[in-house]
Assembly symmetry: C2
Homo-oligomer: 350 residues x 2
Amino acid sequence: MYKAKAYSAASATSPLASDTIARRAPTEHDVQIEILFCGICHSDLHSVRDEWGGTVYPIVPGHEIVGRVTQVGSAVTKYKPGDLAAIGCMVDSDHTCPRCKAGFEQFCQNVIYTYNSPDKYKTAPVTYGGYSDSIVADERFVLRVPDNLELAGVAPLLCAGITTYSPLRHWGVTEGKKVGVVGLGGLGHMGVKFAHAFRAHVVVFTTSPEKTEDALRLGADEVVVSRNADEMQRHAGSFDFILDTVSAKHDINAYLNLLCPDGNITLVGAPEKPLDVAAFSLIMGRRSLSGSNIGGIPETQEMLDFCGKHNITADVEVISIQKVNEAYERLLKSDVKYRFVIDMASFKSQ
Amino acid sequence: MYKAKAYSAASATSPLASDTIARRAPTEHDVQIEILFCGICHSDLHSVRDEWGGTVYPIVPGHEIVGRVTQVGSAVTKYKPGDLAAIGCMVDSDHTCPRCKAGFEQFCQNVIYTYNSPDKYKTAPVTYGGYSDSIVADERFVLRVPDNLELAGVAPLLCAGITTYSPLRHWGVTEGKKVGVVGLGGLGHMGVKFAHAFRAHVVVFTTSPEKTEDALRLGADEVVVSRNADEMQRHAGSFDFILDTVSAKHDINAYLNLLCPDGNITLVGAPEKPLDVAAFSLIMGRRSLSGSNIGGIPETQEMLDFCGKHNITADVEVISIQKVNEAYERLLKSDVKYRFVIDMASFKSQ
């Protein structure tokens, strides 16, 4: 065991504060990583404030981790000290179930999330995430990072990136498809970048007309102000796929009606209140409404490699770890373009 | 033009009553059919009472039509007088759009339904359905009927049959899959028969424990009383596919939570009120909620051929046309096992 610097919250009402945590010494299959950047995901805020229930305190959030390998266990073959490496939302699974074997570790019933999951090594009651200067994980959950990308912008790929990449791939978004992205935040801006890179015709739906210019810059072909019923009606029955990134309750039928036959809407935002779904909106045209959550390790690696090839990173605002509570308040107001990323070098100035 | 006997409703509050309607003389591509049996679908009742809006009166409902060819146009190649033949929910489409060309006439924007659609031949303001002793339709919308099946039980295959067959096929129900059927009425009992014939493990969900015996007789492997939360919980995360035939509002999340990763629920009943869908139920496990409505002509023929091969028909209660209003009242109370079918021979006793 060794000590690492971290920011943790002591209760649902406590701010995040400087702390020292225990990390296990790397076992033979482990990779130790010096964390350089960690993205701030809205899930971090929900977990810190126990808004989904089940948070064990202290909590060290963070699952958009990128850094450099500092040490590897004797059986590790894929990494060596000095390599760039990343960790996303999962750090372990049972490796034996059909889902793991198929590369869908996110569906494994024994998946270990990067933070707030039982720690099988008993280093701590639960796993501690990436708001820290160091982390240790099984090499099977460590990802290679292309060396041509700006590292701060890579961090959000590990959650916001794979969460949008995976459903776009799963639902067959390619050239010639008409694709909508609802909401232009941390998830939405990645959805636009990927759908554009897949050569789809990309339409951004937003309630904020002032986002038009930025949407076009990110790769949208069109922007529709969703409050304008006439504008919406012009697109009725025409979309192959819509990625819905909105986490507040909204009128999903307005979007279902924009789908062509066999079209799909996938929710990646998670509104707390149920959505009202009109059965007829689904029945006519055999439409479907789905959800999606991150992706498996093989697909996460595929996504990172794709980003390297196409020079895709998240648009980020880099902050020091000392500013994390302030960032949370701004996140609640959607006041960020488009993802906060903590620069862990700031630990050294403590 | 010629005159046919029919039962029509004169207004949303009128009972169905004996009438005489005009049918066109068969054109060169047309097939004239003596209707022997016509099933009663819940849509008929909704349309007669204008519960979905848009009904043009008088209305002659009926889209589960089976009979015998009496005359064919000069260009007709697939049928000759004396052949068994059937007509379902559609009698025409534009034949030129990509959806028609792909065999998905049900998605054609110019589809002509069997009743209450504009009549392009101007024989009447709208098309008239199967509560009649005769009908004329383009041979491309006429279906072949296997000659080994009991004809009264064939009629409901044209709507209840294809409506359940199509989504089971679309979502890949085969041997080794665990399939749920929610509700055991006209649609549900066909869903059970098909899922069983596809060699899936079939679980019927019902609120009525007294339906257990019948469900098992129809082909179910298990019956779950959906009000029993413990019984439901035992099946959590285990279903590949669930066919939901319930047309009243119900708790769809209880069923979404029974799906395994990538599992799908397809709605074929159409609750009037929106369903409350919890986004998390979809997001965890990449589940999806879809709808489906009938099927294309090629798939409807495939379904009839499958029924011939596997000796599948609907379980029906045969009534005279004079009893149709009484049947509607019983339908509202779900007092039928499992589909009413009108025997058109009863026209002759008028």
